[in-house]
């Protein structure tokens, strides 16, 4: 070790130093030009004869292959009373064995090969994937085929999953973060929207093996799949292997249903869940937008300036840097694919400064609707979007999965030039656009404010910054009761 150190030291001396040419400001630095063109989805897209569309991206750098299959299903397909069925089916597909392998045998084999097999079903999509060394490709594909077609849903794994779910339900009220997540969805989308229909002990208890089999049979067939593959393989050979993977499939299953859109945003007001912690978690919410909304780009730039851009954004500057009221203060406004998502400005602050910070956030929301943003702000936000754009395609795996997701959600066909045009659309956003969309979507008098924390301390406020609750909302303060962790019914 010591010897090496000396050798390197010798090599290090003698570098020329011209510290004198260092400019006084970074704006004076000259940078070489950087040209970047995003990859095109069509270059990797293959319509398999066996049904699915696949994105095949070879990369010989490392002896690894990653295969992922997106499935058109989701929580929205759960029958009433069977909440939790989608997630349970998704989990047990890869963890409950297959027709010819018990769960234990399959897990042991995969572990020995250092291969990862995963599956899950979320709100609006499912996925099954395998990540393995390229020497094990054929064995991995055979396992994948069995998982997709003849899952075992082994009894002891089925029971274990239920026990684990019930066990984790017990922690539903322990961490204020979990309460926040649950109530945010309910306020933003309404109690009746499918995203709010969380599993209960009764719904988990009622799920049977035949429910799982039915859910699997209905939605897991090649007509509902979009595939992404990247890694160490020959493209032609891989396409042939994929054809085989999806050929001779029975039964046919069902055509995917459209994702419901019947959401309902809460009435204006402050909604408090009383929980004894010394820091309140806060979400200031408004209805959001769809990603294909023509205002999408302007809204992203506006949000970046308001609270999406980290330290260069207004909310972070005021709530964190100026006032020291929070470690994390932010806003986000993603575009929805199937239904409009939610605008959220959030932070966590000690009980007694929760309301003061809310006042500041609302002030900033009003201000951005009333005054044009500065040149510096809009230039920073736009430059950031434009220059970080190559990150979407940072790895070959990202190329495959990004395009698979575009195909899955339909944008690849209805807006095939999305990536090609992204930067020019951002570039075209003006200060007037930012103010216009702020006025259109940020309605401070319509906000629903969710607070999880110590109600009494929070409403007491801080002696240096007293805030009248009515100045924050016309809707008044409403209590959200803690919910029974098993039934999710309000606790008295």
């Amino acid at each position: 070790m010591k010897n090496l150190f000396v050798i390197f030291l010798v090599f290090s001396v003698g570098l020329s130093v011209f510290a004198a040419d260092i400019p006084s400001r970074p704006e004076k630095l000259k940078f070489p030009e950087l040209k970047y063109e995003p990859p095109k989805g069509s270059d990797y897209r293959v319509e398999l004869k066996s049904g699915p569309v696949a994105f095949v991206v070879p990369n010989r750098e490392l002896p690894l292959i990653s295969i992922s299959i997106l499935v058109r299903t989701g929580k929205y397909n759960e029958p009433k009373g069977k909440e939790g069925l989608a997630a349970m089916t998704g989990y047990l597909l890869s963890k409950g064995g297959t027709k010819s392998h018990s769960a234990e045998a399959l897990e042991e084999r995969l572990a020995f090969l250092a291969a990862g097999l995963s599956s899950n079903i979320g709100d609006t999509s499912g996925s099954v994937g395998v990540n393995l060394l390229s020497k094990d490709l054929d064995e991995g594909l055979a396992i994948l085929r069995e998982v997709l077609t003849v899952p075992r849903f082994q009894r002891d794994r089925f029971d274990l999953y239920k026990t684990q779910q019930i066990q984790s339900m017990k922690q539903r009220n322990d961490d204020s973060r979990n309460i926040e997540r649950r109530e945010l969805v309910r306020l933003a989308y309404g109690d009746h929207f499918f995203r709010s229909q969380s599993a209960t002990k009764a719904s988990i208890d009622s799920i049977t093996e035949s429910d799982l089999r039915g859910f699997h049979r209905d939605w897991f067939h090649p007509g509902n799949f979009v595939v992404s593959v990247s890694g160490d393989f020959d493209r032609k050979e891989m396409v042939l292997k994929l054809e085989r993977l999806f050929s001779d499939w029975s039964p046919k299953g069902k055509t995917a249903k459209p994702v419901p859109t019947n959401k309902k945003f809460a009435k204006a007001g402050i909604y408090i869940v009383d929980k004894e912690v010394n820091q309140g978690r806060v979400d200031i919410m408004l209805p959001g937008i769809m990603r294909d909304n023509p205002d999408y780009y302007a809204v992203q730039v506006m949000n970046d300036i308001l609270g999406g851009g980290g330290f260069t954004s207004r909310i972070t500057n005021r709530v964190r840097s100026d006032e020291g009221l929070a470690y994390s203060a932010y806003s986000y406004c993603p575009g929805g694919t199937y239904f409009p998502r939610t605008f959220v400005a959030g932070y966590q602050s000690k009980s007694r400064t929760v309301l003061y910070a809310a006042q500041i956030v609302l002030e900033e929301m009003r201000k951005i609707t009333q005054e044009e943003v500065t040149d510096k702000e809009i230039e920073t936000a736009k430059a950031s979007y434009i220059q970080t754009f190559p990150q979407s395609f940072e790895t070959k795996g990202a190329v495959a999965s990004t395009f698979a997701s575009e195909e899955f959600t339909g944008r690849l066909s209805n807006n095939p030039n999305y990536f090609e045009n992204f930067r020019s659309k951002i570039r075209a956003v003006t200060k007037a656009d930012v103010q216009r969309v702020a006025g259109k979507y940020l309605k401070p008098d319509k906000v629903a404010i969710l607070i999880i924390g110590d109600k009494e301390e929070i409403l007491k406020g801080h002696p240096d910054h007293l805030v009248n609750v009515d100045s924050l909302t016309s809707g008044g303060v409403k209590d959200i009761p803690m919910r029974d962790p098993f039934t999710l019914q309000p606790l008295k």
């Binding site: 970074p26 250092a114 066990q167 961490d175 929070a326």
Partner: protein
């Protein structure tokens, strides 16, 4: 037998996957690590300061982390419209703060006498402190007029910088960002600038931010405060015993002067390592590094060493916590520091025990069904290490019961060699991970910085072969050496009564409060009972009673019957 076994094994036969990092030193002793990768038009860059919370002392705990926050506040050139006015206001602020510190000293004395109950409570400050605070607020307002808010961040952001962040650990502090590949010089300008002459603006507001960070991470989470307390129990003499974020008494007491001293002591170039990963040309990058970072003046002498060793533990330590959590058991043993030869078998052993095909899951979750989740890991810090095993306990069992089963697994490792195939499975996963870690620039940068911060970046290449060389005998040896009773500390978590919302145990649902309390008590005695004959007799007696009572049998009997049956089944399976 031997031959067949050999055929079954199929070791992965991977060559050691070296990460071709090039090491250099600048003229002032600063280390530079370069890794060229041409995957994407970007560079992940960062630097490590070999200083962390271990270099602190009581009274200034949390300073390494607070300092990290301050490094984003700018320089004489970045972050101000008028540097002269800026410095004047900062000095003025310090004058007021010195006076406030005199008051804070008085308040601590008042607190000792019980005249104040909470030093943080805005309602309990002295009048003089409040008056000085008003004065200070005026200075903050004045300062805002000359500050250019978060300019350091804005320059990077408007140039396509992303993922800018930093972290402080027990042993090291790391700062990092991704920039487009044509912005390497901007990175050099910015980073060398803040190292050369950082200006600690908004120092006291940032302390409040750190306090909110502490509330968020430690105080307002179900287990944060217990983990912090347990950590302090586990480490006795070593500076690892205090939290990285600092004790709540210390954070508000840290002065700017102390931060200046900290900088002068630990941020000298020979204590720093610059790391670049991505699309650049090595030689040009090195020349540029010398031009920019070569400006840092080499410090006098050596950085102070961490002298205090953790004293060998004398007796088992136990920690009982009632928390808003499902019951669980969490056991820690002292193990050696990063790079010690025993850390490799310990890392392998952790994998033998953890994962879905590991021994803990198979025995506790799938076999005895007394846990829903298990974990095991070996964590090497720079100066000493820890090995952790634990489990979340299922209903009807106690953490102590699960603890005993974990010890039986430990004893098994001590008494029987781990079979070849099981060992090979674990090694295969280590070997594959050597490839998987090379996915993209940013995670590679993080690994190099972490390894360097722990003592030696070369471990990213040298650990792999050492792991592959571990034998079953090594596993047995380290298990015997470290997994002893007097070397462990055990945390037992049970649910705090009255939390968990509805009924914490579904088996008791429907019982009234009195019956519930009784059922709970009886259940714990049943589950602690190992006498099968006695249990069966109790069951028979109970069933006879129930038959006699018929429809009038109270529901609690049914619950107890179920508990008895479950316990009997459990014991019979053993």
């Amino acid at each position: 037998m031997r031959a067949i076994l050999g055929l079954l094994l199929f070791p992965l036969l991977l060559g050691a996957q070296q990460v071709p990092v090039k090491e250099h030193f600048l003229s002032n002793g600063m280390k530079v690590l370069l890794l060229e990768r041409k995957d994407a038009p970007s560079i992940s860059g960062g630097w490590v300061a070999r200083v962390g919370s271990v270099n602190e002392r009581p009274g200034i705990t949390g300073i390494a982390h607070l300092f990290e926050h301050m490094m984003f506040k700018g320089t004489p050139k970045i972050g101000t419209k008028d540097y002269k006015a800026d410095v004047k206001i900062i000095n003025e602020q310090e004058r007021v703060r010195d006076a406030m510190r005199v008051e804070e000293r008085k308040m601590r004395e008042m607190w000792r006498k019980g005249e104040i109950t909470d030093l943080q409570d805005p309602d309990q400050k002295t009048d003089k402190w409040n008056k000085l605070n008003e004065e200070f607020k005026v200075l903050i307002e004045e300062h805002r007029k000359v500050i250019v808010k978060n300019e350091f961040d804005r320059i990077y952001t408007s140039n396509g910088g992303s993922r800018m962040n930093a972290y402080t650990s027990y042993d090291h502090t790391a700062y990092f960002i991704d920039v487009p590949s044509n912005k390497l010089e901007l990175f050099m300008w910015m980073e060398s600038g803040r190292l050369l002459d950082p200006v600690f603006r908004e120092f006291y507001t940032e302390r409040d931010v750190v306090f909110e960070e502490r509330r968020m991470r430690t105080e307002s989470t179900p287990l944060g405060k217990f983990f912090e307390s347990f950590n302090s129990l586990f480490w006795e003499s070593h500076p690892y015993s205090w939290p990285i974020i600092g004790w709540p008494s210390d954070i508000p007491a840290i002065s700017k002067k102390q931060a200046d001293e900290f900088y002068a002591t630990y941020y000298m170039p020979q204590n720093l390592t610059l790391v670049l990963v991505g699309d650049f040309e090595g030689k040009a990058a090195l020349t540029m590094a010398e031009k920019y970072f070569g400006r840092l003046k080499k410090g006098e002498g050596l950085v102070p060493d961490v002298v205090t060793l953790e004293q060998p533990q004398k007796a088992e330590k136990r920690f009982y916590a009632e928390a808003e959590t499902n019951p669980n058991i969490d056991i820690y043993w002292h193990t050696p520091a990063f790079g010690h030869k025993d850390t490799y078998p310990l890392s392998v052993l952790a994998q033998v025990l953890s994962t879905r095909t590991g021994r803990l899951h198979k025995k506790l979750v799938l076999g005895e069904k007394i846990a829903t989740d298990t974990w095991a890991w070996q964590g090497a810090r720079k100066y000493a290490g820890e090995f952790n095993m634990g489990a979340e306990v299922t209903d009807g069992n106690t953490p102590e019961q699960v603890e005993q089963v974990i010890y039986s697994l430990v004893e098994e490792v001590k008494s029987k060699l781990v079979p070849a195939k099981e060992l090979q499975k674990v090694k295969n996963n280590f070997a594959a991970a050597e490839y998987r870690r090379l996915s993209s620039n940013h995670p590679i940068l993080m690994q190099i910085m972490r390894s360097e911060g722990l003592g030696n970046w070369r471990e990213i290449n040298e650990a792999g072969p050492k792991i592959q060389a571990v034998t079953a005998e090594d596993l047995q040896r380290v298990a015997k050496k470290y997994f002893t009773r007097e070397n462990r500390a055990v945390a037992v978590y049970t649910r705090k009564p009255g939390t968990g919302g509805g009924d914490e145990d579904p088996i008791f649902a429907g019982l009234d409060a009195q019956a519930k309390a009784m059922a709970r008590k009886v259940t714990s005695t049943i589950n602690a009972d190992k006498d099968l004959v006695q249990l069966k007799k109790r069951l028979a007696d109970l069933e006879a009673q129930m038959e006699k009572a018929g429809a009038k049998a109270p529901p609690v009997m049914k619950v107890i019957r179920a508990v008895l049956r479950k316990r009997i089944a459990q014991l019979e399976k053993k």
